[in-house]
């Protein structure tokens, strides 16, 4: 099933944030929405997640409960262990034991089996991001929504968590929408990149990436030349 927004518009009072956005998110692919900071990318994700219903236009395929949302911040409950944090979002689908077992598996998949009993306060930023990813992948959704999920991490941790995300998504096959302002991150993650104009945001260009994984790295020349095209699109 495909996902799409048509003529999506959103305002905060007098401020028009999304100005009639048309965008397709092909099923089973990672679509990166790339735009300048404050152009309405988070507003777009909130609408796709069903958190914001005050908009005009059409939203097809998305809806409340259909998406796993990885927010800019970890949004983990500081009083709960990593496992309880993941299990909390699973409880409406399964009993407690099953939810805990699923959470344990999800944490093992992100390399945190040994820290499943730890609270977020005792974890590094990278570990907390992994817990947030485990929660998103454990949740039986149709699509993953990620809001600048790696921007708070240092480069080395960021690459390792992004690799983990790509690996899990590849195995899982779920559709994903990632919003970011970081061009290199967009190239690293996306199989399709949509650039947005500044407020009120509209789709500027859509690029289907054919670069191999090894050509997307932060030190890759091929990625650097593609980067120039993306900057051109954003700044035009």
């Amino acid at each position: 099933m495909g996902y799409e927004v048509k003529g999506l518009a959103k305002s905060f009072g007098e401020l028009r944030v999304l100005g009639g956005l048309d965008l397709e998110f092909p099923a089973g692919r990672v679509t990166v929405v790339l735009g300048p900071s404050g152009c309405g990318k988070t507003s777009l994700l909130n609408i796709l997640a069903g958190l914001d219903e005050d908009y005009s236009g059409e939203v097809l395929g998305f809806g409340p409960g259909k998406a796993s949302y990885v927010f800019q911040e970890d949004r983990l409950m500081p009083w709960m262990s990593a496992m309880d944090n993941v299990a909390l979002v699973l409880r409406r689908f399964m009993d407690r034991d099953h939810a805990m077992a699923t959470a344990e598996e999800a944490l093992a998949a992100v390399g945190l089996h040994g820290s499943r009993g730890s609270k977020p306060g005792a974890m590094s930023g990278g570990m907390r991001r992994r817990v947030a990813l485990a929660r998103a992948f454990a949740y039986p959704s149709e699509v993953l929504l990620l809001d600048e999920p790696f921007s708070s991490l240092d480069l080395r941790t960021r690459i390792s968590v992004m690799d983990l995300f790509l690996d899990l998504r590849e195995r899982d096959g779920r559709s994903a929408v990632v919003v970011t302002h970081d061009v290199r991150e967009a190239i690293y993650l996306g199989s399709r990149i949509a650039t947005l104009s500044d407020k009120p945001a509209k789709t500027r260009d859509v690029f289907d990436l054919t670069l191999a994984k090894e050509d997307r790295g932060f030190a890759s020349r091929a990625a650097a030349s593609f980067e120039a095209r993306l900057y051109e699109s954003i700044l035009s």
Partner: protein, 253 residues
């Protein structure tokens, strides 16, 4: 500075503060020179020891403690349930607001006097303390529930977490530190109002009754001794709640 050094410095400061207070008290009593107005601290201490060795003291102390704890338990039960409702629902908050404003604005003596018309003397202090203390708990708990991080609530909503899980697993733990502060405020107020209620309603066994009897006999040192007993009850409960607050703040970190 090492944490251990800081703790012993704080302890030394507390001892010094008590010593200064006792010195000022002693100087004051010497300047006035009349025990009936302001007895010296050592006289109050010896009276306290005498009162504590009296037959009826343990019964009076335990009856007052029981009244204080009963008031505390009832106030917290009411305060937590109504505070939670008020924190979750604007409608509940609006419905509770007039009753809470009236009870908060009513003088404690008016409540005790009315309670003396309605209830037997042993119940008067408990009723009065509950009426005075539960609105404090309602306000604290409601503020705690409303202080839940809206980003966590958005996260839960995006994952479709059921409302009962949001209440029990997110809102309630968010309110936990406020709950400890509510408990501390309620117990402090409960002791004060219970003793005031006992002074006026004169139950057979009570710290307040001892205080009132001593006042009638113009035994000022004994009044001070009973006041000290009341203060000690309050200090012990304060120390316990300090401990509880620390544990709850660890639990939420």
């Amino acid at each position: 500075m090492m944490p251990g050094t800081r703790t012993s410095r704080a302890k030394a400061d507390a001892v010094l503060a008590v010593a200064v207070l006792a010195a000022v008290w002693k100087l004051g009593s010497m300047a006035i020179g009349a025990d009936i107005v302001l007895p010296a601290p050592e006289r109050v201490l010896s009276t306290l020891l005498r009162v504590a060795s009296d037959d009826g003291f343990a019964a009076a102390l335990s009856a007052t403690a029981l009244r204080g704890l009963a008031s505390f338990g009832i106030s917290m039960a009411l305060g937590v349930s109504l505070g939670f409702a008020a924190g979750l629902s604007d409608r509940c908050r609006a419905m509770l607001a007039p009753a809470l404003t009236v009870t908060r604005a009513t003088p404690v003596l008016a409540i005790i006097l009315l309670a003396m018309i309605w209830f037997p003397s042993g119940i008067v202090p408990v009723f009065s303390a509950v009426v005075m203390a539960f609105p404090v708990a309602v306000a604290d708990v409601a503020a705690g529930v409303r202080s839940t991080d809206p980003r966590l609530l958005d996260m839960a909503r995006s994952f479709g977490v059921p409302a009962r899980d949001i209440a029990a697993r997110i809102r309630f733990p968010s309110a936990a530190p406020h709950l400890a502060s509510a408990a501390r405020n309620v117990i402090g107020l409960s002791w004060k109002v219970v003793v005031a209620g006992e002074v006026l309603s004169q139950p057979a066994r009570a710290v307040g009754t001892g205080m009132q009897n001593a006042r009638v006999m113009l035994e000022t040192a004994e009044v001070f001794a009973w006041v000290t007993v009341g203060i000690l009850l309050c200090a012990v409960s304060d120390a316990l709640f300090d401990l509880l607050s620390r544990r709850l703040s660890w639990a939420t970190k």
